[in-house]
C-alpha cells in the first residue's frame, strides 16, 4: 500500500516545528476581554452574601457575574453522546460551592491587571460546612454534595444524590463464591490508584466572539466540538443553533479536554456583553479545578486451579468522582469490563461498583478511562496468584490470555476476540526483554537489584453502538479533494491518518487531499476524539465516503464518455471505458459547469462492536535497597492495534503513553490537605516525568487484522497507558519482594516494605 501502514509525516508537522501561530491563544482577536474566575477557598460552603459593586467600578472592567446572573438549568460538562450518562449537576455559577477552586464569580475586563484588581475587590461571605473528603465514608454521609432538588441523572446508572452516589451497579455471571471456594489458589486484595492530572502542555482555553448573524462563536482547545456546542446551549439556556464551535490545533488533551472544563465562562461573557473575550487557564487552575483521573480503590478476589488456570474474578471498584459527576458512571465501568476480559477461562465473574461524590475537584476522562485503574488491580492480583503457585507471571498469562476467536468474559461490546495477537505480543516482548535470562531479578552487587515485571492490557475501539464518525468528501474544480472531518486532531495526527486512508482509497497523492476540521457549522457530525474511536470509526466513514465519491466520479466520467457506468473504471487519474478516457481534472471541471450531479458525499459510521487492541508491557527496574529509589531502566511494549495506519505515529503514541504510565506508577498523585485544597498545584510540586526519568522505551507491533476497522486497524491511543503500573509493580516485587498495592510507588513505600520484610525475617 502506498499510504496506509506507511510512516507518513504529519501534514501539519512543519508548521508545528517552526512555531507557527496555530493554537487558540495565538489566534485571539486583539480587543479581547480577559476573563478570570474567582474561586472558592472552601471545600463545601454556601455563599451567604456576595458584593461586586466596587469590583465592577475598577476601570476597564466590562462585567462581573455571580450565581445571581446565570441560568438555573443544570447540565454536565462531560463530552458524551446525548443523553449523557453523567448527571446534570452543574450551574455556570452556583450559590453552593463544592470544592476548593469551585467557581464563585466571573470577571471580564480589558486588561489582566484590571481583572486581577477587581477579583480582589469582590467580597464574599460564606457559610462553611463540613466537607466530604474520604471516599470510604462518602456514601450515605450526613453531608450531601448535591442536596439540590433539580439535580438530575438522565440515564439509569444507579445514581442517587441523596446518598452521594453518582453511579452504582452489580453484575454477576456464574457462581463466584462457589468457584472461589473450589480454587486451590486465591487472592483477596485491595488496590488503590490515585487521581492524576493529564498535564497536557497547553492548558484549557477558549475565546469567543459574536458574528454578523448574532451567533456565538467559540474557538476552543477541545476534543469535543459538537458536544461543546450542545453543552453551551444547555448551560446558557439558548438554542444550540446560536452557537458555532471551532477547534484549531490543540496542545494535547489525553481526555482532559473531553470535558468542557473552561468554555462556559467566556461563552457566557460574550453572550451577555456582545464583546469578544478569552479565558486561558493557568497551570495552577489546571491542577486544582480541571478533570483528572478518577481515584479508585479496587478490591479483587481471584481464584486459580493447580494448573494455573484463572477460573474466577470478583472486582469491586469504589470510584471518586469528586464534586461533579463528569464521566463518573462510565469510567468506572471500564475498570471491570476491560480487565476481567483478559482472562479467557473464567467460569464465573462478578463486577460491582459505587461511584461517590466528594468535595474534591471533579474527575474526568484521562487516557485509559478506568481501564487503567482496573487493569492495575487485576493484573496485580494475577501476579499475586502466580507468586503463590511459584509460577512465572509470563506463564500464567500464556495460559489465560485472550486468543483470536476466543471469549472475552464480561465484555459485552465484543463478546469474543474478533482479532487478537496477544500471544505473539507476549512472544515478542519476552524476546525483546530477554525475559528468561532476567526473570525474576539480578543482584548488581552494589546494593542495587534489578527486577523485571509483566502485564497485559486491552482497551476498546470506540463506544459500541454509540460513537459516530463522520467524513465529508468533495472533488474540487482543480481535481483536488477536500476532506471535512469532525474528529479532533490534538497532536495525535488523525487529520493525517484520515488523509492517508483517503489517499489510499482514492488512489491519489496525500498532497492532493486538503483536510479540514473542525467547525461545527461545516464539519460532518462526529462524536469527537475520545474512547479510542477516531481511527477505527471515522476511518471507516472516510473509506465509505471515498467509495461513494468514486461512484459519482465514475458516473460523471461515464456520461462524458458516452458509456455505461458499469463499463468504466477509475484509477485515480482517469475514468476509462474500453477505448476512451477522461481525466479527473476534466471531470472536476465538468462538475462546475452545467452539472446536476454533486461531486460531494457525506458518510457517517458507527460500529456495533468495540474490538479491543491488546498489549504486553514489560518493565525492567533497578532498586536501591538502601533508599528504595527505583529507576525504570527499560520498558518493552508490544502492541496489537490491528494494522497501524501510520506506524510512526502509533509508535510515538505508545512511547508517550508509556511515559505517562511511568509517571502514574511512580510519581503522580493529586494530593489534598485536610481542608480539601490541592497540595501539588504546580509543576513544581506535581512532578510529571522528565527525560531524566525515562530510561529506554522500546516498542514493537504484532498486528492482527480487524475486519470491521479501516484496513484492519483498531485503536492505540489509550491502551498504551495501561501496562506500566502493574508491570512496574510486578518488577519491584520480583526485585525486592515488596508488594505495592497503592500508587504511586514511591521510594518511601519501597523502603518501608523492605524494612517490614527484614523485621519479619
Amino acid at each position: 500500500m502506498k499510504y496506509v501502514n506507511q510512516p507518513v509525516r504529519k501534514s501539519d508537522a512543519m508548521s508545528l516545528v517552526t512555531g507557527k501561530p496555530v493554537y487558540t491563544d495565538d489566534l485571539v482577536p486583539k480587543d479581547c476581554l480577559i476573563v478570570k474566575i474567582l474561586r472558592s477557598p472552601y471545600a463545601n460552603a454556601w455563599i451567604e452574601d456576595i458584593r461586586t459593586g466596587t469590583a465592577a467600578q475598577v476601570s476597564g472592567i466590562a462585567c462581573v457575574f455571580t450565581y445571581k446572573d446565570v441560568p438555573q438549568k443544570r447540565f454536565t460538562l462531560a463530552g458524551q453522546t446525548y443523553p449523557e450518562m453523567s448527571p446534570y449537576d452543574r450551574l455556570i455559577l452556583d450559590r453552593h460551592v463544592r470544592f476548593v477552586g469551585d467557581a464563585v464569580a466571573i470577571v471580564a475586563g480589558e486588561t489582566e491587571a484590571a481583572v486581577d484588581k477587581a477579583l480582589k475587590r469582590i467580597k464574599v461571605k460564606y457559610r462553611v460546612e463540613e466537607p466530604v473528603l474520604d471516599i470510604h465514608t462518602a456514601m450515605d454521609h450526613k453531608t450531601l454534595v448535591h442536596p439540590e432538588g433539580n439535580w438530575e441523572s438522565k440515564v439509569p446508572v444507579g445514581a442517587d444524590n441523596k446518598r452521594n452516589l453518582c453511579a452504582s451497579y452489580t453484575e454477576e455471571s456464574g457462581n463466584v463464591e462457589e468457584l472461589l471456594a473450589q480454587c486451590k489458589y486465591t487472592v483477596d486484595q485491595v488496590y488503590h490508584t490515585k487521581a492524576n492530572q493529564q498535564a497536557m502542555m497547553e492548558t484549557f482555553r477558549s475565546y469567543c466572539y459574536m458574528d454578523h448573524f448574532g451567533r456565538l462563536n467559540v474557538v476552543s482547545s477541545t476534543q469535543i466540538p459538537f458536544h461543546v456546542r450542545r453543552i453551551l446551549g444547555t448551560a446558557l439556556d439558548i438554542p444550540s443553533s446560536k452557537i458555532r464551535v471551532i477547534k484549531p490545533r490543540i496542545g494535547g488533551g489525553f481526555g482532559a479536554k473531553q470535558t468542557a472544563v473552561s468554555d462556559v465562562y467566556p461563552a457566557f461573557v460574550t453572550w451577555k456583553t456582545g464583546r469578544p473575550c478569552k479565558l486561558v487557564y493557568s497551570r495552577y487552575e489546571s491542577q486544582i479545578c480541571s478533570s483528572p483521573r478518577h481515584e479508585m480503590e479496587i478490591r479483587v478476589r481471584a481464584g486459580a486451579d493447580e494448573n494455573g488456570i484463572v477460573r474466577v474474578l470478583d472486582v469491586y471498584s469504589l470510584s471518586n468522582t469528586g464534586a461533579y459527576g463528569e464521566h463518573g458512571p462510565t469510567t468506572v465501568s471500564l475498570s471491570g469490563h476491560k480487565s476481567i476480559a483478559l482472562y479467557r477461562h473464567l467460569e464465573a465473574y462478578r463486577f460491582a461498583y459505587d461511584v461517590v461524590y466528594t468535595n474534591m475537584q471533579a474527575a474526568g476522562a484521562y487516557r485509559g478511562y478506568g481501564a487503567t485503574q482496573g487493569i492495575f488491580a487485576v493484573e496485580s492480583a494475577v501476579n499475586e496468584l502466580a507468586a503463590q503457585m511459584h509460577m512465572d507471571p509470563v506463564k500464567i498469562r500464556e495460559l489465560n490470555m485472550p486468543l483470536e476467536g476466543g471469549p472475552l468474559p464480561g465484555y459485552p461490546d465484543s463478546p469474543y476476540a474478533t482479532s487478537c495477537a496477544m500471544d505473539q505480543c507476549m512472544v515478542r516482548a519476552k524476546e525483546m526483554m530477554d525475559w528468561d535470562a532476567k526473570y525474576p531479578c539480578r543482584d548488581m552487587g552494589n546494593g542495587k537489584v534489578r527486577g523485571v515485571g509483566v502485564a497485559m492490557a486491552m482497551q476498546g475501539s470506540s463506544i459500541a453502538g454509540v460513537d459516530v464518525g463522520g467524513a465529508d468528501l468533495k472533488l474540487n474544480e482543480d481535481g483536488s479533494y477536500t476532506l471535512g472531518l469532525g474528529c479532533t486532531d490534538m497532536g495525535t495526527g488523525c487529520d493525517t491518518i484520515m488523509a492517508q486512508i483517503a489517499a489510499e482509497c482514492l488512489e491519489t497523492s496525500m498532497e492532493n487531499i486538503v483536510v479540514f476540521g473542525v467547525d461545527t457549522d461545516i464539519s460532518p457530525y462526529d462524536s469527537g476524539s475520545y474512547a479510542s474511536a477516531t481511527t477505527y470509526t471515522t476511518g471507516v466513514a472516510v473509506m465509505h465516503a471515498c467509495e461513494a465519491l468514486r461512484e459519482k466520479i465514475c458516473a460523471l466520467g461515464a456520461a462524458m464518455l458516452d458509456a455505461e457506468k458499469a463499463q468504466v473504471d477509475f484509477d485515480g487519474e482517469y475514468v476509462y471505458s474500453s477505448d476512451k478516457k477522461v481525466s479527473l481534472r476534466e471531470i472536476a471541471v465538468k462538475g462546475t459547469c452545467g452539472n446536476t450531479q454533486e461531486l460531494q458525499v457525506t458518510r457517517s459510521h458507527s460500529s456495533q462492536i468495540s474490538p479491543p487492541p491488546y498489549m504486553v508491557g514489560m518493565a525492567e527496574v533497578e532498586i536501591d535497597k538502601e533508599t528504595g529509589s527505583v529507576k525504570v531502566l527499560d520498558y518493552v511494549a508490544v502492541a496489537d492495534c490491528g494494522t497501524p495506519i501510520n506506524p510512526n505515529l502509533a509508535r510515538v503514541q505508545t512511547e508517550g503513553g508509556i511515559a505517562q504510565g511511568i509517571g502514574m506508577a511512580l510519581y503522580e498523585d493529586v494530593q489534598y490537605s485536610e481542608k480539601g485544597a490541592v497540595r501539588n498545584n504546580s509543576f513544581m510540586q506535581y512532578k510529571i516525568p522528565s527525560r531524566m526519568d525515562i530510561g529506554s522505551i522500546r516498542v514493537d507491533f504484532r498486528s492482527s487484522y480487524e475486519e470491521t476497522g479501516p484496513f484492519g486497524a483498531k485503536s492505540i491511543g489509550e491502551l498504551v497507558i495501561d501496562t506500566p503500573s502493574p508491570a512496574i509493580a510486578n518488577a519491584i516485587y520480583n526485585a525486592v519482594g515488596v508488594r505495592a498495592r497503592e500508587l504511586p510507588i514511591t521510594p518511601e513505600k519501597i523502603a518501608m516494605g523492605i524494612l517490614e520484610q527484614e523485621e519479619r525475617e
Binding site: P7, R9, K10, D12, A13, M14, S15, L16, V17, T18, G19, K20, P21, V22, Y23, D26, A113, Q198, A199, M200, M201, E202, T203, R249, I250, G251, G252, F254, S282, R283, Y284, M490, G491, T492, G493, N646, N648, L649, R651, V652, T654, E655, G656, G657, I658, A659, Q660, S682, F683, M684, I688, S690, R691, M692, I694, S696, I697
Partner: protein, 157 residues
C-alpha cells in the same frame, strides 16, 4: 517604561510595565512561537535565546532584555525547518506545543556541545517537558540529525 532590544536581528521597542515578563512582551511583539506551560519555571516551553544563551522567558522581566539580543524560533526558521523535519520524520512533534522551546534549547545545546552523547542530551534538555512524545522519539530525532550533519560535513571536506 520604554524598552528596546534586538529581536531576531531587528531593533524593537515598546512599553513594558516593571513586572511585564519577557514571555508576554515577546508574544505582544508577534512571536507566538513562545509558549507558556507553567508559572513556576518548570516546563521549558518559553525558552528563547538571550545573547546566544537559553533563558526561560517566563522568568525574565521584559526590562531585563533592554539592549540585549533575543532570538525566538521566528528568527531561526531555516534551522527550525532543517531540524524540525527530523522531529517530524519520527512523528515526535506530536501536538507541537512544546516544540519551539525544545527546539530552541536543542540549538543552544548544539552550540555548546557540538557532538553530545545521549546522556548529555538528556541532561541538557531535562528542563524541557513534553507530555506527548515520551521523549525517546525526540532523542532519536536529535541523534539522526547529528548523523546527517556529520555526513554533510564529511561531504564538504
Amino acid at each position: 517604561m520604554n524598552i528596546s532590544f534586538w529581536l531576531n536581528g531587528v531593533c524593537v521597542s515598546g512599553e513594558a510595565e516593571p513586572d511585564t515578563l519577557l514571555l508576554d512582551f515577546l508574544r505582544q511583539k508577534g512571536c507566538y512561537s513562545v509558549k507558556r506551560g507553567c508559572e513556576t519555571a518548570n516546563c521549558g516551553l518559553c525558552t528563547v535565546l538571550m545573547d546566544g544563551k537559553p533563558v526561560l522567558s517566563c522568568s525574565v522581566l521584559a526590562v531585563r532584555a533592554e539592549g540585549h539580543k533575543i532570538i525566538t524560533l521566528e528568527g531561526m526558521q531555516k534551522e527550525a525547518e532543517e531540524f524540525g523535519s527530523f522531529l517530524a520524520d519520527e512523528g515526535a512533534e506530536q501536538c507541537g506545543f512544546c516544540n519551539p522551546g525544545f527546539i530552541m534549547n536543542v540549538f543552544a545545546m548544539l552550540k555548546e556541545i557540538p557532538d553530545p552523547t545521549e546522556e548529555e542530551i538528556r541532561e541538557y534538555l531535562s528542563g524541557n517537558l513534553c507530555r506527548c512524545s515520551g521523549f525517546v522519539g525526540q532523542t532519536r530525532s536529535i541523534l539522526k540529525f547529528l548523523q546527517y550533519k556529520k555526513a554533510q560535513k564529511e561531504g564538504e571536506e
